[in-house]
Amino acid sequence: MRILVVDDSATMRRIIIKALNTTGFNDITEAEDGEDALTKLEGIDLLLTDWNMPVMDGLSMVKEIRRNASFANLPIMMITSQAAKKEVIEALKNGVNDYIVKPFTPATLVEKVQALSAK
């Protein structure tokens, strides 16, 4: 399974990747923002993304991805500190499949990724 991790924070990307590596998810690509991620979608099986990023934020990126029929079924998980009810609803409405709220524990992340990747 190839996973694309999108976050402008290298620290957060490392924390996410480290957690994924512990459970055997080793084929991971990184992107620094939404625009960067759009160029790295080919062959990706699961996408994990931050919301608040420079250049192109996570929600704009998700909208762009869902406009392309080739990626209509790509599982997308938002990992963000923005978790007011209306934001979660907005993300889900626009094609996000699942949501993790920062701060999170590695165990929560792994559990959610395993559940989403099994669908």
């Binding site: 924070s9 608040n52 500190s81 923005q82 209306k86 709220v101 920062k102 701060p103």
Partner: protein
């Protein structure tokens, strides 16, 4: 500044550190900042704004605290503030501002947050949004101390209160 508007930030710091670093931290007595110089050597600053509220929040760490936090979060010892430590501090500020935002939504207040900026250096200054007093909240993390600075200007206290009252009446 009403304490109910400060608490979401305090709770966000406690939750963020407990979850991401695995440490419980203690809040010490707050005070009003009287000069522009930061208490720490590295600060992550993030602005927030909406029609209801405008302000900024900064997490400022003495060098030793920042290096310890990096060690605890990343499992790696570094001896100086480098790009990775700067990124970690910026991300912590980002998470705190975002987490506080979720609690603010219970007060019928929403805001957008900016991308964090990080400033490094002895005696650096922090420019906060709005010409309002800056509240400093010290935190103790084992033997290490750090500080949160908050500036906040409520643009429409009355309308926020009115909305809350209306919500309670219809509940």
């Amino acid at each position: 500044m009403d304490v109910k508007y400060i608490n979401p930030f305090i709770n966000a710091v406690v939750t963020t550190f407990e979850t991401m670093i695995g440490l419980s931290i203690d809040r010490l007595d707050p005070f009003i900042k009287t000069h522009a110089t930061a208490q720490g050597d590295i600060s992550g600053i993030i602005g927030y704004a909406s029609k209801d509220i405008i302000g900024s929040v900064a997490l400022t760490f003495p060098e030793g605290t920042a290096l310890e936090i990096y060690r605890l979060m990343m499992g790696e010892v570094v001896n100086d503030i480098n790009e990775e430590v700067k990124d970690t501090v910026g991300e912590l500020a980002n998470i705190v501002a975002g987490t506080a935002k979720n609690e603010f939504s219970n007060l019928e207040i929403s805001y957008h947050i900016s991308i964090p900026t990080v400033v490094v250096g002895k005696n650096h200054t922090i420019s906060h949004k709005g010409s309002v007093p800056v509240v400093v909240i010290p935190f103790q993390m084992t033997n290490f101390k750090f500080f949160m600075e908050i500036s906040m200007k409520l643009n429409s206290v009355t309308s926020v209160s009115q909305r809350m009252r209306a919500k309670m009446q219809t509940a």
